[in-house]
Symmetry: D2
Subunit: 138 residues, 4 copies
């Protein structure tokens, strides 16, 4: 299993009046982790979109363990939790500088054509991605 690590500096704008990071922001950090994983395995999500293929989220799940706060730097660990040729599920772990797990999570994705939002088979339409995802998945 390949694990990508992304450093994220907590932004002031990401806090809320509880004094901690608002829970919706971890979903944005997951996306950042995903972008990095894709780049590290040799692909580019921006280019895939430019070629007319989108990869929308179909499901997301987050468990909050320990709040992250402004001024901290956290690490988003991202990996391919499941892959079957059509759907990809990424796993995530956000860890603070003390090694505490802030959140764990998972997001599921399919690939669709930009114009129609019709699902496509990653295995058939993106054989190079398929090969690599098979290799790096958990």
């Amino acid at each position: 299993m390949f694990i990508s690590e992304t450093k994220v500096e907590v932004r002031y704008a990401e806090t809320d009046q509880m004094g901690i990071v608002h829970h919706s922001n971890y979903v944005v950090w997951f996306e950042l982790g995903r972008t990095h994983l894709i780049k590290e395995i040799g692909f580019n999500y921006a280019e895939m979109e430019a070629e007319g293929i989108l990869s929308p989220v179909t499901d997301i799940q987050v468990s909050y363990k320990h709040p992250a706060t402004y001024g901290e730097e956290v690490i988003v660990k991202t990996w391919v939790e499941r892959y079957d040729g059509i759907r990809v599920a990424y796993g995530y772990e956000v860890i603070n500088s003390k090694g505490q797990i802030c959140v764990t999570g998972e997001s599921s994705h399919c690939c669709v054509k930009k114009d129609t939002f019709r699902p496509i088979s990653i295995k058939k339409q993106l054989p190079e991605w398929h090969e690599v995802y098979e290799k790096i998945k958990k």
Copy 2:
């Protein structure tokens, strides 16, 4: 079971380059639905916080079915899915004007003291909330 309905007008800033609402925003809409449900059953979350009790999210889950888009008005349906005196889980459904389900979801919460983030028992510390939650839960 009591179901609260909140109208949400999709904001331009909530869209992304897919041309649809970015998936992190539904988490914010759920929070809006929760605030309304609490108000409709006679309580006020802002006041509870002012009195030193917070209700952080411990888990969140979202399933994306149909994209919402700018210019639309959607309805967030919110209800108490589970309640046991300590934890509350709210259920959500976001529905567009054609009656299509855009997303479904669930969020779990506990109550903690503002100063220490130590969990408290809703049943013991907030007996009035307890009574109502018992009544309206699914």
Copy 3:
């Protein structure tokens, strides 16, 4: 001068650890006010975009007077501050329920073709918009 009024309920996610609305959110509320003004004068920004014309922001200015807080409902007043056939500047005032001015601001916009981001003349390309903007401007 025509003034549009938009009610905005302050969202929890819009607060920051100062316990007030994070200053970036007023920029989002201005956009909401703008969308409403355009609708009230009989047009539809979403449709204009669908026809290939965008109206990006070229300048924005905000003065913060009094913080808005979670649980409040504020009103965003929006009007056409200046219009010359090519550029539109909207003026804004955000007012809380006590009548206090929270922020004042202004945003400037041009119109561009979606494909090229090349500026177009509103007067020539959108004569119906031109006529109304001339009428309602300050």
Copy 4:
């Protein structure tokens, strides 16, 4: 004049349906640039807040020149544009990898007590900050 440089990777969630970064996000990037400048001159904004002093924004101005897009890395240049012992104005420039100026901007700030939001004199209450700000200002 001291200029701080902060790298910012454009996030997918920061784009809107125009296919470019939504204009409200530059305001968030400015804040990130400010945090870094403060750190680089030897202070820590998070600690200042922990000691009961906040530095809210009183005015903000942004001029949009060239859109930033997902997949890019931009640089936020931040400096002290003006300082008079009570108010600080920071200047900003966001530059893309081709050297194009995406936006320029300015934000003004005062310092207030956390409890009361009453303004304080930086010169008197924070003499160490005062000394450095006098040195590095434009």
